[in-house]
Each structure stands twice: as structure tokens, then as C-alpha cells.
Symmetry: C2
Subunit: 145 residues, 2 copies
């Protein structure tokens, strides 16, 4: 329990907000060359890792619901990156599959992670530790929610 109001810079939530902002600003121009937005890139990373997922499963890993994913996926489908098709085994669900174009982007965009790592200008071990601390924090925050 603290006895005074926190300043903006003292708030953990603001440091997260700012770091996320800064990361987004770094990604934006790199992704723009592929006509990708940042959430669209995350969808691709998820599909490169495992293709043919249901909308709901993508939502689970990305922590997004269909109200966000459906229009996002429709834009990606319009851009020719993915296909959306009802699951024949269960017509309630929609399966998202990479197109050739979507798959091809994996190689072309591979350099992006390295650009980010270079920008972060820290050794891999340090960044990995920060990442793991963030995962643990996220876990605790979700449990509390």
C-alpha cells in the first residue's frame, strides 16, 4: 500500500504502454513494406507456426475475440494472405489457412525480427529474460482478472 499518488513514469502499466507503443512504431515501417499491420503480422506468425487454425484458437493465442478477429481476418483474406472456410466437420467454426502468398511472406519477413533485435540493442539473454518476466507478469495478471 502506497501513501501517495504515483507519477506517470512510476506506473508499471505506463511503462508497458510506452514500451508497446515504441515497439509498434518500430514495426510499423518494417511491416508497411509488406502492407501488413502489426496485428495482421501476429496472425501470420501464429499461422506460420501452425496453419489451419480455427478463429477461436487464433483468438486464444492472440487474446482476441471474434469481434476483433473477424474483420481483421476478412481484410487479410481480401489481401490474399489467408483463406477462411467453414469447418466441414463442424459448420460453427471457421478454419483459417495460409495462401501461397501468406506462406511466402514468412521468408521475406524473416529479417524483421532481426531488425527489432538490433534496435533493442541488448544481448539476446537480456531480452529473453525481460520476455520471460513479462510472460510471468501476464500470467499473474490473467489469474487475477
Amino acid at each position: 500500500m502506497l501513501d501517495r499518488a504515483l507519477t506517470l513514469d512510476e506506473l508499471l502499466c505506463f511503462s508497458l504502454y510506452s514500451a508497446n507503443h515504441a515497439m509498434g512504431r518500430l514495426y510499423r515501417p518494417l511491416l508497411a513494406r509488406f502492407d501488413l499491420t502489426y496485428p495482421q503480422y501476429l496472425v501470420l506468425v501464429a499461422l506460420w507456426q501452425q496453419d489451419g487454425r480455427k478463429v477461436g484458437d487464433l483468438g486464444t493465442v492472440l487474446q482476441l475475440e471474434s469481434n476483433t478477429l473477424t474483420p481483421l481476418l476478412k481484410r487479410m483474406e481480401a489481401a490474399g494472405l489467408i483463406r477462411r472456410a467453414r469447418n466441414p466437420q463442424d459448420e460453427r467454426s471457421v478454419i483459417v489457412t495460409l495462401t501461397d502468398k501468406g506462406r511466402a511472406l514468412e521468408g521475406e519477413a524473416a529479417e524483421i525480427s532481426n531488425c527489432i533485435l538490433a534496435a533493442a540493442d541488448a544481448d539476446l539473454a537480456e531480452l529473453a529474460e525481460l520476455r520471460d518476466r513479462l510472460h510471468r507478469l501476464t500470467e499473474r495478471l490473467r489469474e487475477a482478472g
Copy 2:
């Protein structure tokens, strides 16, 4: 330089994105009781710390531009939290000032930080270190951008 594609969970940017999301989800119900959104809360924190700032100065601390701040501040003005007035010394700038209602929220919302700290379920030193690591990362990312 890595020789393989990273999974979603390995990406530092995604750990930031997820932690920020999780934090937002924790804040949302707490802020909803005051009819506040998260960015609106950040504006209030900034003004509680120093009232009477120009739109551009708020943008500097929050890393937001007028295209985001202007509509956000108009909604806050409509909600009776702040006042917006042209600076008589320089009519280009707009000074943002807390109303009595906006000032009063500081006391009422004081518990929110503590709810978040409780949810994070870690000691203050650990969270402070994570926060400082994030600040340093943000700094490096901004320099690279």
C-alpha cells in the same frame, strides 16, 4: 542473427503486447466505475502530476499526437473532467485544465494502483525493476526509430 523463425511466444514484442493487453483488461473494470477509459486515466494521471499543460506537452509525455489527443480530450471535456481553452499568450496552443470533478477523481481512484499491484502479486522491488527495464528498452527503441 537467428537462423529460424520465432514462435509467437518467443517474440519480445508479443510478450509486450500480451502484458499490455492483460493490464488493460485488469484496468478496464476498475476504470469503468469512474466512466474512464485507460488513455483517459493516463491523461488524468499526467494532469494530477502537473495541471494546465498544453495539448502538445501531454502528447510528449503520453507519446500521442493531436490526432489522437484532440478527440480524447473533447470526450473528457464533455464528461466534465477537464477544460480546454486557447492559450491567451499564444492562440495556437490549447491549455488543458482539470475541473473540480477531475481533481476529485484523484482521491477516489487512488485505490486503483493498489488493486493492480495486488493483482501483479509480486513485491514492489521486483515490479520496479521490471518497470525500469521497460523504460530502458523503450529508450533504446525510440533512439533506433
